[in-house]
């Protein structure tokens, strides 16, 4: 239905192109005026994204601003930029193992999770994009429901499950638990990219005597490298931002930075400066990852598989 409205819309436009091409010159003048006016209006359209970005950056700026202030200044005065800029808050984080180990722990389990998710999802996505098999559609849907499942439902049984395997407070436990929603996501994204690769490539390779593993590694993976990049980006993102499960499954040795931060908030003395500095440091890895995949993000979103 929608493709029809879409098509007829385009047809109307095309028909009117030929109509206006025959139009007399008086009409052309009016048209030119109209186009100039439209141009003027377009000149102000940059205002909307700019305002939006200001809205996005203002709270982040406030956090950065606070991270360079002393606690006395945060609580005492009110200033739009630090009066006596200090690096003390960052020094606290970089010298106190309970703070900086939080970052190391987070990075370890996020990288583990991204690696596992993409590695496991690659063959499965290939199967879904190339073959029909018994129960494939239902399997795909079941995988998707796990992406949609609320982590709150799983937090408690995960705690019990991983305790019984003696995995509580290890990086691998969090990495495996995050696979619950990242593996389906990776399968979904990769399947989209793989369906874009023509099947003739597979067939030609098999005719040329490639075995399946060799074809997959030597030919197919390079072809969908941008898809792997997008999948890894989203796995990284969702594992990096998740708090509930990561906090539930860790106590001291594998405690993620997110959990270190919330416990500092709930604990006694609120050291706002250090908290702000810790927050700023958690934004940096994400910002770096976005910068590297900026050209793929729009493509990944276009597939609509987030």
């Amino acid at each position: 239905m929608n493709s029809q409205t879409n098509l007829s819309g385009a047809r109307v436009v095309h028909r009117s192109v030929s109509a206006s091409a025959r139009a007399p010159s008086a009409q052309n003048d009016a048209l030119a005026r109209k186009m100039r006016r439209r141009g003027q209006k377009a000149r102000f359209s940059w205002l909307v994204p700019t305002l939006y970005i200001v809205f996005l950056l203002l709270p982040i700026y406030w956090l950065v601003n606070m991270s360079f202030k002393t606690n006395a200044e945060i609580l005492g005065g009110f200033s739009l930029f630090p009066q006596n800029p200090t690096l003390r808050n960052y020094m606290v984080i970089f010298t106190d193992p309970s703070w900086y180990s939080g970052y190391i722990n987070s990075i370890i389990y996020v990288v583990l999770n991204t690696t596992i998710s993409v590695a496991v999802a690659l063959p499965a996505a290939y199967a879904f994009s190339r073959y029909r098999f018994l129960g494939d559609k239902h399997l795909f849907f079941w995988l998707l429901t796990n992406r949609m499942a609320p982590p709150a439902v799983f937090a408690l049984p995960f705690l019990q499950l991983y305790s019984s395997f003696g995995l509580i407070d290890t990086h691998i436990a969090v990495a495996l638990a995050h696979c619950l929603f990242n593996v389906p996501l990776a399968v979904w994204i990769l399947e989209g990219f793989m369906s874009g690769v023509p099947k003739e490539i597979d067939e030609t390779a098999y005719v040329d005597g490639y075995s399946f593993p060799r074809f997959f590694i030597k030919i197919f993976i390079p072809l969908i490298s941008s898809g792997i990049g997008v999948a890894a980006f989203f796995c990284f993102m969702f594992s990096w931002v998740e708090l509930l499960i990561a906090r539930t499954l860790t106590t001291t040795d594998a405690r993620p930075i997110a959990s270190v931060m919330t416990r500092t908030v709930s604990a006694s003395g609120l050291d706002w400066g250090v908290l702000a500095a810790a927050g700023v440091l958690t934004i940096i890895p994400g910002a770096l990852v976005i910068y590297f995949v900026r050209n793929y993000i729009a493509k990944g979103f276009a597939l609509g598989r987030v």
Partner: protein
Amino acid sequence: MDKTWNNKAWFLVLPVLLLVGFSAVIPLMTVVNYSVQDTFGNNVFFWAGLSWFEQVLNSSRFHDALVRNLVFSLTILAIEIPLGIFIALNMPRKGWGVPVCLVLMALPLLIPWNVVGTIWQVFGRVDIGLLGRTLAAMGIDYNYATNPVAAWVTVVVMDVWHWTSLVVLLCYAGLVSIPDAYYQAAKIDGASRWSVFRYIQLPKMHRVLLIAVLLRFMDSFMIYTEPFVVTGGGPGSTTTFLSIDLVKMAIGQFDLGPAAAMSIIYFLIILLLSWIFYTVMTNYDARR
């Protein structure tokens, strides 16, 4: 693409099946087991029948959390979707502005959810926050820790801040796929801004908008971390959404039975919603 029928493809799916089965099926079975029993700890359980389900289904606590969550989800949809479309329509199509916009707009999506909460906490507090101070100076009674309205506004604005970019990026991806010829034709034709939107841009965004609405609905339906950090579900329980309530019950009070019963009801609602999502999506794709 026409696919070959081959049941050997199961072997390729097997690793995923084992991994996700391990972390999805065993916990779900456990939840079902807990939901029909009572425990006083030490893995000693007593049969409780379906009394927990009855209790949860008839408790005003659950009803309130459900209604609160629905109102929240619909509110943020009503704000984020039109706003996202509007911003995407006004984004630059080429030049240096494109990567700048994309990177800056994607930034909130990559911030850990608890840090999103922290950011809005320090931004909104009356004593140290830019927003709180400014509003207080303007004479507006804004204190999200004591005022339910302020708490709601904070949580909603925070979600808009956090997730509108997702809608923008999705819509933008739909918009850039429109060939230039369409716009030129419309321009020569003197089509109004509205009819360009209505007949050219909106149809192209239809699919991504569908995804945006459903994703945002699902994700806001299980929101936990951000409101938990900012308001802790308060003041009172005015911002206690379903997930917050559930975690409070399961991990905070260790009330396994009621928590498990609530989990199952919650999960069934989510299952129904994702089934509708999936069915609408696949039928939409098939019809194109």
